[in-house]
Structures are given as structure tokens and as C-alpha cells.
């Protein structure tokens, strides 16, 4: 079962890295630099700070739900195989 926990940690690490880059990176630390680019009437850094980061947060949670669902299924199938 060590496998399950390690795989979980790996997924967490990847998703939280994206979480950090989008909010603290694009929304705060790199925000002023990104402001030189624009999408429509938004400066890009401003957009990430007030809109974009939130959309990415939602995607991250559902990606986690999907990946963990797949992992749960795989682990339970392997367990069934061992039992039979």
C-alpha cells in the first residue's frame, strides 16, 4: 500500500506546484512583468491576480479528483487480483 501513498504524494506535489506558480507566481511575484502583455482590456498580471488564478484553482481540484479516482480504481483492481 506504500505505492498508493507515494503516487498520491507525487500527484499532490505536481498540482501544488502549479497552484503556487499561478497564484503566487503569476498573480503576485511576476505580476508586474506579465502586465506588459495583454488579453483584451486586461493586463495579463492583473488578470491572473483577479480572475485567472481562480479558474486554475477549480481545474486543479477536478484534476485531482480525476487522477485519484483512477489511482483508487487501479489499486482496488490489483488488490482483487491478489485476492483471487
Amino acid at each position: 500500500m506504500d505505492y498508493y501513498w507515494k503516487a498520491n504524494l507525487k500527484i499532490l506535489f505536481c498540482l501544488l506546484t502549479i497552484w503556487f506558480i499561478v497564484s503566487f507566481g503569476f498573480g503576485i511575484l511576476l505580476s508586474d512583468w506579465l502586465d506588459q502583455f495583454r488579453i483584451g482590456g486586461f493586463k495579463l498580471g492583473f488578470w491572473f491576480a483577479q480572475q485567472g488564478s481562480i479558474y486554475v484553482f477549480i481545474l486543479l481540484i477536478f484534476t485531482y479528483v480525476f487522477l485519484m479516482g483512477r489511482l483508487d480504481k487501479k489499486v482496488s483492481e490489483e488488490r482483487d487480483k491478489k485476492d483471487s
Binding site: M1, L12, Q50, Q51, I61, F62
Partner: protein
């Protein structure tokens, strides 16, 4: 019909629905009362969580705050949504798997210690009462403005409604009323936002509208807003005023604090499984994001509208809403240069910031204030940030029923959050303090009775806060998040992700986090408010952001103390092992 009649109809109808739902879903067991029998569908729970989470502050104050803060306002937008990623990935599924009733329950069991449990209960009660005080003020504002009843009567009506469905229905009743309240509040938020977006930019989607050009002009709204705000002496709307490190720490403290707030976490105890808990956090964030991505659009529209409609107009020609809110006491005008024209720019209009009204009218008919004008700048207008959302439909001249809808939405937002907090407080008292610590012999029936009594008691205290609002309410919001971040979040996180963390580590971590964060906030907010400037702050971090540092200190102390003391017993590490399995 008048605005007032419309408001009576809207608020009255919504109240009737809440009571009806509560009657249909009464709690019959402690499990019903604490966690709605653990049978709530994840989408329904997501909606309830969104209503639970979005308080009077989110609904009434946030857009106004952002309208005046500009880009700095993103600390609230990212901070109060990003926490859900932490919650969904790091806490909710594991705590649900643990399968008890409350947050202190987990801390007590994981750290095999009633001391840890009681420390957690104390943090929880402090955080939750801080929060409730703000909700009651929200109900008071809405009632006094729109129904023209006395603020105290408004608070009493609100308390009465919450009393009926919280004491009766417990978590189960609250969950389903919160679903209704979410529907009311999101509708009330989106309708005026869409209206205003169409009026100002011809784009019906506010999220896109505030990045579009102004109606009948090739100029982008945000560009014009940048220009106008700079001309008036403010920082450009889309630029930061606060330092990077402060913005970083405030955002982090709010995110981590959100994930550590007991009344939010406990919502994920109500779903049937840990898989449902993951999913439910995702739905919750979708429902929350509907409001949180609309809010910054509302802010930009409101700031633009505000400047357009009052700048350089004569007081006698000022819009009706300006005078309405002046009567309520949330707007004041001091004609510094005696030219009869309203002049709005950066800086404080009045000495001492908040207006103190006196009887009588000025030469243009305005309400007189006792304050001396602040002559260091040219600004003549005091505007309370709380009015932006409530005044916005009036400013944009929307129909009466929309204004009434916003009033009903404000009440829904305040009541739903208050109810969730009340249940959290009462279950900490009846379950953690009585059943698990001081009166372990009571039966389930008695525990249920005690939890109802505790709810009634908590409502009483919350009512007192509403009627005699402590002056420090606005000051202590930082407290709730700072404490959740620096006390509860680290012990929950490490409780799952470290098997080695023992009770000595957890208790010392919580206490150090508490003392450091509370000490810092109390020093700058109460003991020496005159020193509360960035020059005196530790590394330039404001009291709002210090919870993040408190969290880091808590984690380090917990780990160091744990490594110096004996490992937790075998049962505990196998319990943690169990939490980590599918």
C-alpha cells in the same frame, strides 16, 4: 410598489422558505445534528459550503473593498479561493475518512490528548465568534437601510430565524437552508452585476465586461479607470500599492486560514465518503467562484460609476443614493473649498477619518459633521466601503425589485454563515468539552439536548454582538484567519502527513503559533496602533499577513519538539496509516 415594499416581499418570502425547509429536515440524532447524518450529496454540500463560506463580508463588503484597493484587492480574491485547493488536496478527504464529528475531535484523537483537544476548542470558539460578530452587523445594515426598521429589531428578527432552524434542524436543517440561501444570494449578486455590465460595456458577462471597451467608446474600461484614478491622485487601479512581500503573506495567510477554518472543514464531514469529500470541495469552489470572479468586475464598474456620478456635481444636484446613504451615516461631505461642488480624490476628507454627525445642515443642505476637515489633501467625501454592493443598483438606476433582491441576498449571506458558525461552536461545546472531556457519561439523547442548548446560548451571545457591536470587529477579522492559519491548519496537516508528530510537538506548536500571531496583531491593532505602518512591521509584513509567519513558526516548533520527545504510541501511527489508504 416602492423599494421598501419590494424588500418586505423578497426578504419575507425567503424567510418563509428557510423555515419551511428547516421544518422538513429536523435533526433526530447527534449525527444528524453535528454532520447531517453524513448523507449529503457532494453537489448539494458544495452549494451549502459556498453559502456557509460566503459571509456578509464576501457579499456586502468585498467588492467595495476591492473597488478602493484596486489590484491590492486580489489578496482577498486569491486568498479566499486558493484555500480550497489546500482543503481538497491536503485535508478534507483524510479528515472525512477519520469519520468523527468535529475538528477538535481529530486533534484530540490524533494527538491522544485532551489538552490538545481543549486548546483546539478554545481556538475554534475564538475564531468563530470573531466571525459571527461581522455577520450580525451585516444583517443590521441591510435591515436599517432597506426596511427602515431599527438596527436592533433587525438583529433580533435575524436571530429569531436562525434560532428556529439551527436549534431545530442542527447541521441537517442548516445544510438544506444553506442551499436555498446560496440560490438567493448568487442570484442577487449576479442580476445587478449583469445589468451594470450591459449598461457600461454592452457585454452581458461581467467577467468579460470589465476587460472590454466602454459602451460607445473605443477605450478599455480598465485603461480609463487607470487614467481617472491617477488623475485624482490615487495609485492606478491595476497597480499594487502594498509591497510584494506583504501581498504575498496576506494571500498566503488567507489561503491557509481558509483551509483551517473549522466551520468550513466540518462541512466535508457531512458527505458519504472521502471520495465525495474531494469532489465536493471542487463543486464548492465552482459555486464560490461564480461570486468571486464577478466581484472584481463589480468593483471596477462601481469605482468608475462612483467617480462619474459625483465628481464636480453640486450637492443639490447629487444623486438620490448619495443623500440616502448620508442619512444612514455611511457617506459624509465636507465642502473644503466652499464652492458647493463635490470633489472626490485621494486622502482622508475628515480629521479622524470616520464622520461624527451633528444636528443641522450646511450651506448646501448637507449633514454637518463635527470633524475638522483634513486640509492635507483636497478630498471632500467620506465613503464607507460597505455600501458599494448595496448602493450599486441605485447608482446604476436599476429597477426596485433588483434593489430588494440585493437586500434579501445580503441577509441570506449573513444568516447562512452565522448558522454554520453556530453549529460549529455548539458542537465543540457539547461534543468536545462535555461529552469527550468533562461529562463522558451523558447519553446520546442528553448530548443532543446539550447541543441544542449550546446553540441557543451561542445565538444569544451573537445577538449581543449584533446589538452592541464591539468597536474592534473590523480590527479582528485578521485574527480569525491568522489564528486558523497559525494554530489549527499546521496540526491538521502534520497530523496527516507526519506520523512522527507527537502531542508535545502539536501542543507547543499551537501555543507558539497562537502567542506569536495574537501578540503581533494585538500589539499593532490595539496597544500601539500609531506604530502600525510598514516601517515598523517585521520584514514589512502587516498584521493581516502575519498568520503565515505564525504558521511557519508553528510547523518548525512542532517538528523540533517532536524530534526531541518520544514517538506517538503505535495505535496512533496505525490510525494515520489507515487514513492514508483508499
Amino acid at each position: 410598489m416602492t423599494v421598501q415594499e419590494w424588500t418586505f416581499v423578497m426578504v419575507g418570502m425567503s424567510f418563509a422558505v428557510y423555515i419551511l425547509i428547516a421544518f422538513k429536515s429536523r435533526a433526530k440524532s447527534t449525527s444528524d445534528f453535528y454532520v447531517a447524518g453524513k448523507g449529503v450529496n457532494p453537489i448539494v454540500n458544495g452549494m451549502a459550503t459556498a453559502a456557509d463560506w460566503m459571509s456578509a463580508a464576501s457579499f456586502l463588503s468585498m467588492a467595495g473593498l476591492i473597488a478602493f484597493l484596486g489590484k491590492d484587492g486580489s489578496v482577498y480574491l486569491m486568498g479566499w479561493t486558493g484555500g480550497y485547493v489546500l482543503l481538497a488536496l491536503l485535508l478534507a478527504p483524510y479528515l472525512r475518512k477519520f469519520g468523527q464529528f468535529t475538528v477538535p475531535d481529530f486533534i484530540g484523537e490524533r494527538y491522544y490528548s485532551n489538552t490538545a483537544r481543549v486548546v483546539a476548542v478554545l481556538c475554534l470558539i475564538f475564531i468563530s465568534f470573531t466571525y459571527i460578530a461581522g455577520q450580525m452587523r451585516g444583517v443590521g445594515i441591510v435591515f436599517s437601510r432597506f426596511l427602515e426598521v431599527d438596527i436592533n429589531l433587525g438583529v433580533l428578527i435575524g436571530m429569531g430565524i436562525v434560532f428556529v432552524y439551527a436549534v431545530w434542524g442542527g447541521m441537517k436543517g442548516i445544510t438544506y437552508t444553506q442551499v436555498a440561501q446560496y440560490t438567493v444570494l448568487i442570484f442577487a449578486y449576479l442580476v445587478p452585476a449583469i445589468y451594470i455590465s450591459i449598461i457600461m460595456t454592452n457585454n452581458p458577462i461581467p467577467q468579460l465586461g470589465f476587460g472590454s471597451t466602454l459602451a460607445g467608446s473605443p477605450e478599455f474600461l480598465l485603461d480609463k479607470l487607470d487614467k481617472v484614478t491617477t488623475d485624482l491622485g490615487f495609485t492606478a487601479y491595476t497597480e499594487n500599492t502594498k509591497s510584494k512581500i506583504d501581498v504575498f503573506c496576506i494571500t498566503a495567510a488567507l489561503m491557509v486560514g481558509t483551509a483551517g477554518l473549522p466551520h468550513v472543514i466540518v462541512r466535508f464531514f457531512t458527505v458519504p465518503s472521502f471520495r465525495a469529500a474531494r469532489k465536493s470541495a471542487g463543486y464548492a469552489l465552482i459555486f464560490i467562484a461564480l461570486l468571486y470572479t464577478t466581484a472584481p468586475a463589480v468593483s471596477a464598474f462601481a469605482r468608475m460609476n462612483l467617480i462619474d456620478s459625483i465628481q464636480d456635481t453640486e450637492y443639490s444636484n447629487s444623486p438620490q443614493w448619495f443623500q440616502n446613504w448620508e442619512t444612514i451615516g455611511l457617506i459624509a461631505w465636507k465642502d473644503k473649498n466652499s464652492d458647493g461642488l463635490i470633489r472626490y480624490s485621494s486622502g482622508n476628507a475628515l480629521d479622524g477619518v470616520k464622520p461624527i454627525y451633528i444636528d443641522g445642515e450646511g450651506s448646501s443642505g448637507e449633514r454637518l459633521v463635527l470633524n475638522e476637515p483634513d486640509f492635507s489633501n483636497e478630498n471632500e467625501v467620506y465613503i464607507d466601503r460597505d455600501i458599494i454592493v448595496l448602493a450599486n443598483p441605485e447608482i446604476a438606476k436599476l429597477p426596485f425589485w433588483v434593489i430588494a433582491l440585493v437586500a434579501a441576498g445580503g441577509v441570506a449571506a449573513a444568516l447562512s454563515t452565522a448558522a454554520g458558525l453556530l453549529i460549529t461552536i455548539s458542537s465543540a461545546i457539547s461534543h468536545d468539552l462535555l461529552k469527550k472531556t468533562f461529562m463522558p457519561r451523558i447519553s446520546e439523547k442528553q448530548e443532543l439536548l446539550y447541543s441544542r442548548l449550546a446553540t441557543a446560548f451561542a445565538i444569544g451571545i451573537a445577538g449581543l454582538f449584533g446589538i452592541y457591536p464591539p468597536a474592534f470587529v473590523a480590527q479582528v477579522v485578521a485574527f480569525a484567519f491568522g489564528l486558523a492559519a497559525s494554530t489549527l491548519f499546521p496540526v491538521l496537516l502534520l497530523g496527516i502527513f507526519s506520523k512522527r508528530l507527537n502531542k508535545e510537538g502539536a501542543i507547543s506548536g499551537m501555543l507558539i503559533g497562537l502567542i506569536f500571531t495574537a501578540g503581533y496583531i494585538i500589539y499593532f491593532k490595539f496597544l500601539a496602533p500609531e506604530l502600525n505602518t510598514s516601517d515598523n512591521w517585521l520584514f514589512g509584513i502587516s498584521p493581516e499577513g502575519i498568520g503565515f509567519v505564525g504558521m511557519l513558526i508553528n510547523v518548525s516548533v512542532s517538528l523540533i519538539v517532536s524530534s526531541l520527545t518520544s514517538a506517538p504510541p503505535k495505535e496512533v501511527s496505525s490510525m494515520v496509516e489507515e487514513l492514508r489508504q483508499p
